[in-house]
């Protein structure tokens, strides 16, 4: 069992858990993820390593409650424990030779992008962070991101925080203003990553995206996470999750993410009954 050391509620749907997992903490690098199961009949779900503390032996995850497993996870408190926590999985991000970078987070993607911004900033790279949310109540990690960036842009779809527009609009504006990025890192819903790649493509700016296909084992033994990159089939769990966004077949990714939509609804309803009060709260 893996103990929960700390819990924070970042917004009504997004929670942070710091989990005791010394072996994972020892090796964790930005860009990597873990696979967890909450309980013994539970599903294996992948979550990005948002932060880690090697000395304390802990790993932090930040997740959005989108379905049965993430809601159950969100109902746990510090002191509780989860059944399984396996990692670090996937290839760590590489930033050799980068001097100036834009890190873009769409919604929850902000949590996944945070460790990358932190790492780049720590390496002395000039970092612009652009994060976007549907409205101001959903904004997460604003202060954390401010600490690891030279410039921070926070935007909302509805303009409720004073800035209206998509992250891709801001990126385009920055590029046109003359920001010379060596690399753009874009993490968020597949459609957002696709749009960002469309923005950077004409400028030939290298764009790294982090893909989130459905996974089971996370070690390369099932092929369920396959994605098409540059016309070739890759297993996102072992070859990624980071890929060159200009080569990714996003339409296929979006389509494959819908495979279990109906089952996910059934599972959520079932859990909603079981969890009752917790979920309605």
């Amino acid at each position: 069992m893996y103990r929960i050391l700390r819990k924070e509620i970042l917004n009504p749907q997004v929670k942070l858990l710091e989990i005791e997992a010394p072996y994972v903490a020892r090796k964790a690098e930005p860009g990597q993820f873990i696979i967890l199961r909450v309980h013994d009949e539970g599903e294996r779900i992948p979550l990005t390593i948002a932060d880690y503390d090697r000395e304390k032996g802990s790993v932090t995850i930040i997740f959005q409650e989108v379905g049965a497993t993430t809601r159950l996870l969100g109902s746990l408190e510090a002191g509780d424990a989860i059944a399984d926590f396996c990692g670090p999985l996937g290839v760590a991000s590489h930033f050799e030779g980068v001097k100036k970078a834009a890190v873009i987070g769409g919604g929850l993607g902000t949590a996944i992008a945070y460790p990358q911004a932190k790492k780049l900033f720590g390496l002395g790279v000039e970092v612009d962070v652009i994060i976007g949310f549907r409205n101001k109540d959903l904004i997460i990690l604003e202060q954390e991101m401010a600490k690891v960036s030279n410039r921070l842009f926070v935007t909302t779809d509805d303009g409720s925080n004073g800035t209206r527009g998509f992250v891709s609009d801001i990126l385009k504006q920055r590029i046109e203003e003359g920001a010379q990025y060596d690399v753009v890192i874009a993490i968020g819903p597949p459609i957002m990553m696709k749009v960002v790649c469309d923005v950077t493509r004409p400028y030939g700016i290298k764009t790294i995206v982090s893909l989130n296909p459905v996974m089971i084992d996370g070690t390369g033994m099932c092929g369920g996470c396959r994605v098409t990159v540059g016309g070739e089939t890759k297993f996102a769990c072992v070859d990624g999750p980071d890929f060159d966004g200009h080569l990714v077949d996003f339409d296929e990714l979006i389509r494959r993410l819908s495979i279990y939509r109906e089952d996910e609804r059934i599972s959520l309803e079932r859990h909603a009954c079981r969890l009752g009060g917790v979920l309605n709260a």
Binding site: R37, F85, G87, P88, I216, G220, M221, I259
Partner: protein, 466 residues
């Protein structure tokens, strides 16, 4: 006076039309009377031809004689001397090409049902006998085992019996390897595998799950942690795809994914278990091995109307066990032989709607000695399916070889070892099972685990003396 019947005593089975709707075990096992009757068919041959067919040299005539005499406990102990997982081997060994193929009774009529008797002895023992486990005195030396399939479990068990402190590192959340994620419940009940694992734990073997060697820890770090030798039994879990158009459509699975969802994650119980699996109405399974049969029979049990086995050679070349092919047919699986997929067709939403195939004819023998299938021109046709499961083979996962220095592998990615000792090119590192041979059998993996345990013991003793 031996029982001279030409046929094996039949094994009671669930009716095919009932069992193809449930995941309970198909074969129900012999009663004591049936076992004795079948055991009496054995001639107790002096030169024991059957034993030469068994990769771990089970003392076949001896244990069968004990069954015939009603000495079931002793029969089990006799098997256990050389085979630490009899309940599993009795169920999944390809006996027809191993022990039973050599049996003299098979020259005229059916061979003695060695596998069924082995299973009987093991099941009887589990049901009737509980003996306190005697832990061997510890020798204070630590050995690491990577992977908890039959190779790793056997190696760990043997070393624990010799007094070593053994830790098994398993990537999944559950131990057992293919025995839990691959072979379905209806052929190998999972509580049986769990019992074997519990027995190992009682011997003092520590099993650490969620440990992906090559990621969480690597082999060098295991030595730094004080393990004096490492056994790699990581299997051959990397699925192959065909490389034809349409393989990434929704509804195309590798057999590994399909079976893992069903067996390890219990998706057949969805929504009681949280993991779903797509339940197709018309399912094509590509391949002709045990894995293909298991996938097809599982798809049927999930409620499919039509399940096809699509195989490019003829039935004679099919690598699956005869019994499994027979069971699959009884359950209504449709065999499309000499048929090869050319592409998978999708609908406007990107879901599978069919698979285009060509008919094949058998030509000259190829490198494997089997006649090579060649496509018949103009024979393209479409099989209307909504699910395609690809079961054309697996190879060893590169995770360990790419993170371990000095570990020699061949061009198929299999670890190269000394056949007699399972020693790899790296000092103190041994390997066995599918990681070395590519996909093979449970009993061969066990045999390798045993051989390696012995060699590891010798290696550590020799090192201590020098």
């Amino acid at each position: 006076m031996p029982n001279m019947s030409l046929k094996k005593v039949p094994m009671p089975e669930q009716d095919p039309q009932v069992r193809n709707r449930n995941f309970s075990e198909v074969a129900l096992g012999y009663t004591e009377e049936m076992a004795i009757e079948e055991a009496q068919r054995c001639l107790n041959c002096k030169h024991r031809p059957c034993m030469s067919g068994c990769p771990v040299n089970v003392r076949i005539p001896e244990f069968i004689t004990l069954i015939a005499a009603g000495e079931f406990e002793k029969a089990y102990e006799k098997i256990y001397e050389t085979n630490s997982l009899p309940a599993i081997c009795g169920r999944v060994c390809p006996q027809e090409t191993q022990c039973e193929q050599q049996c003299v009774r098979g020259i005229k009529g059916e061979p003695v049902a060695i596998g069924r008797l082995e299973r009987f002895a093991a099941d009887w023992y589990m049901k009737h006998i509980t003996k306190p486990v005697v832990k061997s005195p510890r020798n204070g030396k630590k050995v690491a085992v990577i992977g908890s399939g039959p190779a790793g479990l056997t190696c760990a068990g043997d070393l624990a019996k010799m007094g070593y402190d053994v830790t098994v590192f398993e990537a999944f959340h559950k131990a057992g390897g293919v025995l839990v994620y691959g072979i379905p419940e209806f052929r190998l009940p999972k509580d049986l595998v769990q019992r074997e694992i519990d027995a190992l734990k009682a011997l003092g073997v520590e099993i650490r799950t969620n440990m992906v060697i090559g990621k969480t820890l690597n082999v060098d770090e295991l030595f730094e942690e004080g393990y004096e030798a490492v056994f790699i039994g990581s299997g051959a879990g990397l699925p192959m795809f065909m490389g034809i158009p349409g393989e990434n459509l929704n509804g195309v699975y590798s057999a590994n994914e399909f079976l893992t969802r069903i067996n390890l994650m219990k998706a057949y119980k969805f929504p009681e278990a949280d993991t779903p699996v797509f339940r197709g109405r018309n399912v094509a399974v590509v391949g002709g091995g045990n894995v293909a049969m298991d996938a097809a029979r599982s798809a049927k049990r999930l409620g499919a109307d039509n399940v096809y086995i699509v195989y490019r050679r003829s039935e004679a070349e099919m690598p699956a066990r005869l019994e499994e092919v027979h069971h699959a047919k009884e359950e209504g699986i449709i065999f499309k032989l000499l048929t090869n997929p050319t592409r998978i067709l999708g609908d406007e939403k990107g879901w599978v709607r069919g698979m285009e195939c060509v008919e094949m004819a058998l030509g000259e023998p190829d490198a494997s000695g089997r006649r090579r299938p060649v496509p018949k021109e103009g024979s393209e046709h479409v099989l209307e399916v909504d699910t395609v499961i690809i079961a054309i083979g697996t190879s060893p996962n590169p995770l360990i070889r790419s993170t371990t220095t000095g570990l020699e592998t061949n061009k198929k990615g299999c670890i190269v070892v000394d056949e007699n000792t399972c020693q790899t090119s790296r000092e103190g590192v041994f390997a066995g099972g599918d990681a070395v041979t590519g996909s093979a059998t449970v009993i061969l993996a066990m045999g390798a685990g045993k051989k390696a345990a012995k060699a590891i013991d010798e290696y550590i003793r020799a090192k201590a003396q020098s």
